[in-house]
């Protein structure tokens, strides 16, 4: 049919054929690196080598945004047009680039030199407006950066002590896994008891007690067991895991090693989102260092899996399906991952930030860890502050800091917040201009991301803890705090959120498959001033049906921000 040379692919595939179907995503990624896209002959060769039916291989290619079944440009420019970048002109950058190349978004120039895509959140909200370019396998962020800058602020630097230095901490700088050494002196039961005593809950969005997961998998009697690090950070507005992985990769690896000891896991996976390819070499290097030092490779080892463009794969069971080489459809729960997880085996899956807290617990001891934060929300928390603030970035604060304190820092307080002394200086008045800006300039704050909810200036004094936010009806989610000032038209933001969910719905269950599409259409009308009679009721019916009847968390939260904006009267219908 065509004249592609399959020999280099066949050589590559020998690395994956023993993995069977689980090797499908890495094999397709290898093929795409060779050919720039996935020609039919290459896909068939992958199917043959891995023993996967042809139709299933095509189904997988079709599911993931970063797989191409048609030729694309040598250079692919992804322009983020989601909520945070939308505020900073993402759409204008996209249309400007397209005009310059004479193409429409998501098209390729006739000479196959350039493809320009409108991208869902790239996890670069602190650098908004963000673009990510791949040119012949080399990545650049924005105009010319090889790695995104990490801007790290806050009241403490327990999780982020090695972050913000412009490069990854080496093993020598990080230290000889002292927390792991301490944990290995304890029995697995005692390790879990320590995490339980520390009161660690998951930082990925669901706020589930970490020790309960570990206990469940430890007690399960089937082997092998797995530790999976969920690094598929894709919630619009979230970029903390990017900073943790890129600047301090050993912290998360040490956390995984401790978790492996606790549950008796022999194998770990880090599932890294496809839009973070620049983190891959950093993690690979850190894994090599850890193997050379003997922390990995004996009883426990870790493999990195790169996602291929699917927000749904941040849902834990969809992530397992993806590692298993399938379309990222969320599974029916129960059964739960602790007994029937990856490859149907007992699995603990934790978020990057959660795992990064684990070494801290064993450095300080559970009691020491509980000195940080509040009684019901112990520990430090990373917030991803973006939008209309002077200093977007990752903010590490103890739980219990108020939203006002966080936003005062983000607007450039005169107090030396980084010194950590500000907590004891609450009598000191922040700059009156900042107070004025917060009181009068602020319109709304999106909490928890696209799947989160809006807050208003009336919420400024809410304490950032699980319990206080829950009482205020706000989700902590993945720590997103996206700020909108008075000049913003939130109808545009809602339209962007609607587009995001319609793009990212997997299509498995009807409420989300159909509801995200209908919701997007109505929100687009709202943004365009083309409101139809009855759209308000339609939005409510669609939103509540998705919330109440969808199969997984994506559909159940796809209307959350929209419904909260309507309830607070943030948009005029």
């Amino acid at each position: 049919m065509s004249d592609i040379d399959l020999a280099p692919l066949q050589a590559e595939l020998s690395r994956f054929d023993l993995q069977g179907r689980s090797g499908l995503l890495p094999a397709l990624q290898a093929a795409q690196r060779l050919y720039g896209w996935l020609p039919q002959e290459a896909a068939a060769e992958v199917a043959k080598a891995l023993g996967v039916p042809l139709a299933d291989v095509h189904g997988v290619i079709e599911f993931y945004s970063l797989f191409y079944s048609e030729p694309v440009g040598k250079r692919i420019v992804r322009v983020c047009t989601d909520a945070a970048c939308g505020l900073k002109g993402g759409e204008q950058i996209l249309s400007g680039l397209c005009a310059r190349h004479g193409i429409q978004p998501n098209q390729t120039t006739p000479d196959l030199s350039t493809t320009i895509e409108s991208s869902p959140c790239l996890g670069l909200c602190d650098l908004a407006p963000a673009t990510l370019t791949v040119d012949d396998g080399r990545w650049t962020i924005g105009d010319n950066e090889l790695r995104p800058r990490s801007m790290v602020y806050g009241l403490s630097s327990l999780l982020t002590s090695n972050c913000g230095k412009g490069r990854a901490a080496t093993l020598a700088e990080y230290g000889a896994y002292p927390a792991l050494r301490r944990a290995l002196e304890l029995t697995p039961e005692a390790v879990i008891a320590e995490v339980k005593a520390a009161g660690l809950v998951g930082r990925g969005g669901a706020a589930f007690p970490t020790a309960v997961k570990w206990e469940g998998a430890a007690k399960a009697e089937s082997f092998p067991k797995y530790i999976v690090c969920n690094a598929d950070e894709s919630e619009p507005g979230t970029f903390k895991d990017r900073v943790l992985l890129l600047d301090d990769p050993h912290r998360v690896i040490e956390g995984m090693c401790i978790a492996a000891h606790a549950i008796g896991a022999t194998r770990g996976y880090i599932y890294l989102r496809g839009e973070y390819p620049y983190i891959l070499p950093v993690l690979e290097n850190a894994l090599s260092e850890a193997r050379a030092a003997g922390y990995l490779g004996k009883k426990f080892d870790i493999e990195i899996r790169l996602g291929a463009g699917a927000y749904i794969c941040g849902e834990e069971t969809a992530l397992f399906e993806s590692i298993e080489g399938k379309r990222g459809y969320p599974r029916i729960k129960p059964p739960f991952p602790t007994t029937n997880g990856l490859f149907d085996q007992p699995t603990v899956i934790n978020n990057v930030e959660t795992l990064c807290n684990v070494p801290l617990i064993f450095e300080k001891g559970a009691a020491g860890y509980r000195q940080i934060g509040t009684e019901k929300s112990p520990g430090p928390k990373l917030f991803c502050v973006s939008g209309d603030v002077a200093k977007p970035g990752v903010y590490e604060v103890p739980f219990g800091t108020t939203l006002r304190e966080l936003l005062t820092m983000a607007n450039g307080s005169p107090v030396d917040w980084l010194s950590g002394s500000a907590v004891n200086q609450s009598t000191e008045q922040p700059d009156s201009r900042i107070t004025e800006k917060l009181e009068n300039g602020l319109q709304a704050i999106l909490f928890g991301g696209a799947a989160g909810a809006f807050a208003t200036p009336a919420h400024l004094d809410v304490k950032l803890t699980f319990e206080d936010l829950r009482a205020a009806g706000l989700p902590l989610g993945s720590g997103v705090v996206m700020v909108f000032d008075q000049s913003r038209d939130l109808r545009q933001t809602l339209a962007r959120l609607g587009k995001f969910f319609a793009h990212e719905s997997c299509g498995k269950c009807y409420p989300c498959q159909l509801g995200t599409q209908r919701q997007m259409e109505i929100l687009q009308r709202l943004a365009n001033g083309e409101w139809q009679m009855g759209d308000s009721e339609r939005l409510q019916d669609v939103g509540w049906t998705m919330t109440d009847a969808s199969l997984c968390g994506l559909g159940q939260t796809a209307a959350s921000a929209v419904l909260s904006a309507l309830k607070l009267g943030l948009v005029k219908l």
Partner: protein, 234 residues
């Protein structure tokens, strides 16, 4: 045997029965679209959702097992709202003209096919690429039954899978190949489980198009001689 209450009716369910099975045994109707006794339940259509006391969200009756002491509402306000909205969203996306059971459900729930104006529909051309059956995916409700019987639920042929994602999902073959160019063995099981007229025997399709039985017979003869000539050439 679990004892539970469904719509104020005390019921003894069989061990291992789902809420759907328990309700149907007691003559309480719970509607379904994707569910089929011969295929595994995936909880896709969510028409069978019910309200279970103590559970925050609606639960799919086809998957959740009946349990002792459970209190279930199958016709609460929340349940009705979800079912009616699902029907209306489906009718605004898919051609349901060959799916009388859904049309009856729409009447029963007062669901309007015009509820969502200016809605994008899943419109695709009929695929007529083999002598056995046609594929009219504009009528496909994505119940997954055809994919499942082609795979592990019955035939282990794996000729079809999905293309696209989300609202754009469709049933497809490897790079959209015509069925005869796939592993399809024309067992017909997919046609047998299709509820919506998306998969239809060629003869039925032709008759609906106004082709007469005589013309169809003539086409068959032509086809046989074509196959014979192909074989002899091999």
């Amino acid at each position: 045997m679990p004892q539970l209450i469904i719509d104020d009716k005390e019921i003894s369910a069989d061990d291992g029965a789902t809420i759907l099975e328990a309700a149907r045994q007691a003559d309480i109707d719970i509607p379904t679209i994707c569910w089929h006794p011969a295929t595994s339940s995936n909880g896709l259509c969510r028409m069978c959702v019910v309200e279970v006391e103590g559970m925050r969200l609606l639960q799919p009756g086809c998957l959740v097992k009946a349990a002792d002491g459970m209190r279930v509402q199958t016709k609460s306000e929340r349940v009705i709202r979800a079912r009616k909205t699902i029907l209306e969203m489906l009718a605004s996306s898919v051609d349901l003209s060959d799916f009388p059971e859904i049309l009856a459900l729409m009447d029963e729930y007062g669901a309007s096919s015009a509820r969502f104006p200016l809605a994008e529909r899943r419109e695709v051309e009929v695929k007529d690429d083999n002598p056995m059956f046609i594929r009219d995916y504009a009528k496909c409700v994505l119940c997954w039954r055809c994919v499942q019987v082609c795979a592990e639920d019955a035939q282990f042929t794996f000729a079809i899978n999905f293309s696209g994602r989300g609202f754009e999902t469709q049933i497809g073959t490897f790079f959209d190949r015509a069925l005869p160019a796939t592993s399809c063995v024309f067992c017909g099981q997919c046609v047998g489980v299709c509820p919506s007229g998306a998969l239809k025997p060629k003869r039925e399709f032709l008759l609906e198009q106004g082709v007469t039985p005589e013309q169809i017979a003539a086409m068959k003869t032509g086809l046989k001689s074509k196959v014979k000539s192909q074989r002899s050439s091999i």
